[in-house]
């Protein structure tokens, strides 16, 4: 059976916990090649990013290399895409070239589900459409696990452009599996209708004192261009800043998947505040992706 990594929803709580524990192991041993460098030796993954990305692409690349694997970067702009090749044909071509797994990002919401039945090698969702970004979901779980150990019952506020955020999508999937409470905050037009008992709309300032973590989201201007947004006004109403941080519990943490807009959804002084885990999340991302890459190769010859 091919071990695609497409959505956190396909994992049970105990399967996710063992991925988190493995990611924590990699976090602790990321600079100990003697422990980890042999694990995926001679594997070759392809990064297939139809949308730009620094963090995620490099994060997977470093994860692969730390485990002794290699990466081929497929950059659509320089390629047959210019000649009109379909995504299906590109992925089948890369499969035919004999790579061991495809790390795939695309703007289309449904393309992953369309491609999956046809592929004979693991497809790893590195952000497809606006619904899920499961490797980010795993790194967020790892970050919460390092902080609180027990995930069940955690209260998390998510604030910003939730409708267009695949990060929020994966967090909500994880919250359901682990029994975490999610509070959706931000402009009404950016909050989706979610019918889950553990998810509810909330007033940002009212809920902040009660949560264990707050995940700030970037206003993804490139995804909805008609938004009439004044950055200053937005920051005043929904931005993380000193005033709001003071209202949070002392052990509550600030998350952001990055890249962030300083002065819009988060003030300068909050990015590296002692309660912020933003750069820690990026470090955790490499560990989480090491766990994911290793998992996809299990039982594969």
């Amino acid at each position: 059976m091919i071990k695609h990594f497409l959505s956190l929803s396909s994992f049970s709580q105990s399967e996710l916990l063992s991925l988190i524990h493995r990611a924590q192991f990699f976090f602790q041993n990321q600079h100990r090649p003697e422990v980890i460098h042999h694990l995926l030796q001679n594997r070759i993954f392809a990064n297939v990013f139809y949308e730009p990305s620094t963090r995620t692409r490099c994060s997977f690349e470093i994860a692969a290399k730390r485990l002794g694997a290699d990466i081929v970067n497929f950059v659509p702009e320089h390629s047959s895409v210019k000649k009109g090749e379909t995504v299906y044909d590109t992925l089948k071509s890369l499969e035919s070239l004999g790579v061991d797994g495809l790390i795939f990002r695309h703007a289309d919401d449904h393309i992953i589900e369309q491609m999956k039945p046809f592929l004979k090698l693991p497809l790893i969702n590195a952000g497809a459409g606006k619904y899920e970004h499961p490797s980010q979901g795993l790194l967020d779980l790892l970050t919460l696990f390092q902080e609180f150990e027990i995930l069940a019952g955690l209260k998390i506020a998510v604030c910003g452009d939730i409708k267009h955020s695949r990060v929020a999508g994966s967090l909500m999937v994880a919250a359901k599996i682990f029994g975490m409470q999610i509070y959706l905050c931000g402009p009404d037009s950016l909050i989706p209708e979610v019918n889950e008992p553990n998810v509810q709309k909330s007033d940002f300032d009212q809920i902040l004192p009660e949560v264990d973590a707050v995940m700030m989201l970037r206003i993804q201007l490139e995804r909805h261009e008609n938004l009439d947004l004044d950055p200053k006004a937005y920051h005043h109403q929904y931005g993380m800043n000193h005033r709001r941080q003071l209202s949070m519990k002392k052990n509550a943490i600030i998350l952001h998947p990055g890249p962030f807009n300083r002065g819009v959804e988060i003030s300068d002084d909050m990015v590296e505040h002692s309660q912020s885990r933003i750069f820690k999340q990026m470090n955790n991302g490499v560990a989480a992706r090491m766990a994911i890459l290793e998992w996809t190769m299990k039982g594969r010859t």
Copy 2:
């Protein structure tokens, strides 16, 4: 002596056969690192692609990595080319940087011959101009060898934009060396004059029942913009489809170098038809390029 890999025409039949056999060995062992990973260890090749390419660039990169070598990707757009550097100076610079071989693609028909005398490291033709694409030629020979074992006497139809196809160019060179019969089909304006006893113009539908293989070619719109082409009409007259496949011998195979235009030169249902070897060709491409890279390094310190 520097072992450039520039054209199939510089090889004898027995030299080509030993490259095919070696490629077949790599095909069979592509996922057995213990057998092949040490063969080019510590070699560094440069991919120097002045024209976009997915398959060929990645194919060489994976071939190199499977053999334990590494690749530096030189992307002209991000480079000194913007500052007006000539191809000669770029190649000499890469030579000076100490790479072991240059994998080179360029639109100019004559540039390979112009550069060759000046280089002290192997130059590998990954598609230069419109005449030859010898690594594709070798993978096509490998595919025919796997199917028929004996190449002499094979009958192959080539259909489409032959005039602008370096793939067809290399196939005709190989056909002469091995004594294969080539039938050129497609719109008159896209068929070159070839004066070789083993090459002749033919009517596509008339010759199809007699051939062992048919190589479909993409209409390379980017190479001749004045063509007034209706895709539907083209497909009707020259496209591979179910009706035409039925007229072929049961053991005849369909080839295409990719990327292909579905519905133009080939119908959807033919791409992965049981008589198609299109994705097999891509897999063979890695094996063929492993044989080529290894060959260029023989006797080199």
Copy 3:
């Protein structure tokens, strides 16, 4: 302490000499993996180039790979920069991803100094702003060392667009440290005011017979667009050509950091003349960068 490699000015003469000797060792052993390939095994550097570059980027990449390290290429155009991310946040993100060092190029004159205090990993200046390009400076010193052994007292003419040349900047820093005499030549508007006892403006043709080396610089048209420059007239007044080469000492050498404009600052026949070390410099660049990368990792766990 973090070992940033930012400017030659932060090194003493004896420290620079030991870097030069180490680079010479790498020059002599560049193709002996058994001697050098283990030295930076399992290190991962990031190439972070905000300006295009063939030579420097590939040179660092090959240097890293020869030492057994790996490279992640961060290409700003395909990345979060499009989403408005600051340089600081990009560098901190790459730091968080756990890379071992950042090889950094940027057009801004002051950005290196601004970033340095905040980074917990070595920053390697691969050309920042218009003042310094210290890895080029080291390779120039290596080239002079191979030729003359003793650097003190050498006389070097620099000709061309000195004002916008970070290469000239680093050479002047090195000249001060080693007691070399520098003669600045070229159009008045392209020569900066330098108040150093060992640097003086000179007439190009008058000084040529006296110098040990002449460094020709490219007119960097992309950096000052208002220049009304006639290439032919420029070549006549300031270009290196056969007539000028004849006036030089027999053991004097011609340098150029590349990429060069043939027929402008240097004639065709001078590029590979027996007194030219231009392509040798590129080869030395890999050795110099191996010494630099190794140096930055010393004492680092």
